[in-house]
């Protein structure tokens, strides 16, 4: 019962925050609504027993990336935007198509019922015992650094490529 209550609370906050983020005129307001949305998402992750993802979601997105966005918005002193981002029928059609595709994917996922908690595969008792003995990080780290070490390391390579790319793009116009 209490879990249902919190799920509805966080779901309303997440969806409402996301909608308000798109609709807000002021970029800083937009950003704060996004922070709220991420926060609510973290709450939902906790309800799904994904404590680690919840914490990392706040650390990485709300605490780091969005602060960086805020920094950029403040430095550029962006005011409320007067013009719509999507200009012309072509862009509008594309936008609607993309949104429809994402929505369809979500519907398919929901229909197939991939909504069980992380504990679903192994049972709640095992999950609780693991959390109790290793903490949420141990539960994630064990498979990540044993079974999936190579994919994990390759992901870091991807990040390195992104960083190098950013530097190359930033240096292009330098004399």
């Amino acid at each position: 019962m209490i879990v249902d209550f919190f799920f509805v609370l966080f779901a309303v906050m997440a969806v409402g925050g996301a909608a308000a983020m798109v609709l807000a005129r002021n970029p800083v307001a937009s950003l704060l609504y996004l922070v709220m949305s991420f926060f609510a998402l973290s709450g939902i992750f906790i309800l799904l027993d994904a404590h680690f993802i919840a914490a990392v979601n706040v650390i990485v997105y709300a605490g780091a990336i969005l602060v960086l966005f805020l920094f950029v918005i403040m430095l550029l002193n962006l005011g409320p935007s007067k013009r719509p981002d999507l200009r012309g029928t072509m862009y509008r059609m594309l936008g609607i198509a993309a949104a429809g595709a994402v929505f369809g994917l979500l519907l398919i996922t929901l229909r197939d019922g991939h909504t069980t908690s992380m504990a679903g595969g192994m049972g709640q008792a095992t999950m609780d015992a693991m959390l109790q003995s290793r903490g949420a990080v141990g539960v994630i780290a064990e498979p990540m650094f044993r079974s999936y070490l190579v994919p994990f390391e390759i992901t870091s390579l991807l990040l390195l490529v992104a960083i190098v790319g950013a530097i190359v793009l930033a240096r292009r116009r330098a004399p």
């Binding site: 002021n26 800083v28 307001a29 704060l32 922070v35 404590h51 680690f52 919840a54 914490a55 990392v56 706040v58 650390i59 709300a62 605490g63 780091a64 602060v67 960086l68 805020l70 920094f71 403040m74 430095l75 015992a129 959390l131 109790q132 003995s133 290793r134 903490g135 949420a136 990080v137 141990g138």
Partner: protein, 423 residues
């Protein structure tokens, strides 16, 4: 003894939240008084001594004044965010206190009550997550005030807090390497010694992780925006920084937020490096709950009280230390602050993490059991590292004095060269 469950758990949690929050508020109020007294002591004057005995009621007088002063909202401010900012500044430090273990478990007729509001499975990550939100209050205040000084203060604040957050998080990595768990009560029990159950280090982490403790204390100080890291509110340059435009209780909330932050930082240092609620040189107080629910050590009410007092004592001593630092060391220059964060702390901590990982692995491979010998070996290594660090940071200044020789820094050399060209 089983932990409380069901209705008793709900009641216990609500009671704990209320009691700890009221105690924290009281602590904050007393910290403002203590700050004035420490300032008085450092500057050879009495400090507040008119309101009540020894001036202790000064706290009440200040609170009343905050509430009674006129509240001004600048015409150009973004109203919504202007009001939201003080709340955002106060929120992280308050919420952080919920995961800090404050004492050994208390036995009650309904079961064992752990002296921690929420023992979350992500413990330490929760600390990092909430601490990373502290920047929003400062940035929001600076931006919503819509004045140049506030704005500059907000920018400085966000840059500084982002920079030192990395140092804060990285200096905790060695703690995790030793403890092997992120739950806060486990971090505390790993620093105590027990007769039964999995092996522990039996030594406060400040000894086997001396260098990490040093970096954590400095980064924590920077995160609280206090002297010598109070660039966001440097009054000589940018009036009051991000809270220039705030008045009345809205300013009061920023003011209190600083002390909330100070106490929470001190409490975190206590948990991570000073053994939490452990009473030193005495293993009679040590109680821990193992993963399977068995309790090692007998929880009694007097142990709870003693350990709560021990925790308070450590926290108050650390707060006093931070206050002494504030009234001793002058403010950094802004570029020095950034250089220290990015060019000293992060590379040094990276090297330190690698070094400690190798050291722990080597000790492990050499067959040293986890225990006193293990931590003593790490302490030896850390002492050497700390001396090396001191040598690097000091650069012959402490011994000979800063004026003994004029060092040729690259910048000074460049300036001299530029001057020569100008002639």
């Amino acid at each position: 003894m089983e932990a409380v469950s069901g209705t008793a758990f709900v009641v216990a949690t609500i009671l704990k939240t209320l009691v700890f929050f009221v105690l924290l508020l009281l602590g904050v109020a007393l910290a403002t008084y203590m700050e004035r007294k420490v300032a008085g002591f450092m500057q050879d004057r009495s400090g507040p001594n008119r309101v009540g005995p020894l001036g202790i009621l000064q706290v009440m007088a200040d609170g009343l004044k905050f509430i009674l002063k006129e509240e001004v909202t600048p015409g150009a401010a973004h109203k919504k965010f202007f009001v939201l900012a003080p709340a955002l500044a106060l929120f992280p430090a308050t919420v952080l206190f919920g995961v800090i273990p404050l004492g050994s478990p208390l036995p009650t007729p309904w079961g064992r009550v752990d002296m921690i509001v929420a023992d979350v499975p992500v413990g330490f990550l929760y600390v990092l997550a909430i601490a990373s939100l502290a920047v929003y209050g400062v940035v929001m205040a600076g931006w919503a005030s819509n004045s140049k000084y506030s704005f500059l203060g907000g920018l400085r604040g966000s840059a500084q807090m982002i920079s030192y957050e990395i140092g804060l998080a990285m200096s905790l990595v060695p703690v995790l390497m030793l403890a092997g768990n992120v739950r806060m009560p486990v971090l505390v029990s790993m620093q105590q010694s027990f007769g039964a159950g999995p092996a522990t280090y039996g030594m406060w982490f400040i000894l086997p992780l001396l260098v990490a403790a040093f970096f954590f204390v400095v980064s924590g100080l920077a995160e609280t925006n206090r002297m010598p890291f109070d660039l966001p509110e440097a009054e000589a340059e940018i009036v009051g920084g991000y809270h220039t435009e705030y008045s009345s209780m809205k300013f009061g909330m920023f003011f209190l937020g600083e002390y909330f932050h100070l106490i929470t930082t001190a409490a975190l240092i206590t948990v991570f490096f000073l053994g939490g609620w452990d009473i030193p040189f005495w293993s009679g107080d040590n109680v821990r709950v193992l993963a399977d629910g068995t309790v090692v050590g007998e929880p009694t009410w007097w142990k709870t009280i003693l350990t709560l007092l021990a925790f308070t004592a450590k926290t108050v001593l650390l707060v006093a230390f931070f206050m002494f630092v504030r009234w001793t060391i002058p403010r950094f220059r802004y570029d020095q602050l950034m250089d220290l964060g990015w060019k000293v702390f992060i590379p040094a901590l990276m090297a330190y993490i690698m070094f400690m990982a190798v050291a722990i692995y080597a000790l492990d491979s050499a067959g040293v059991e986890v225990g006193l010998a293990f931590s003593a070996a790490l302490f030896g290594i850390n002492l050497l590292l700390a001396l090396f660090l001191l040598f690097l940071v000091d650069r012959g200044r402490l011994v000979k004095g800063a004026t003994a020789k004029t060092r040729k820094t690259p910048r000074a050399a460049a300036a001299a060269a530029a001057g020569a060209e100008g002639d």
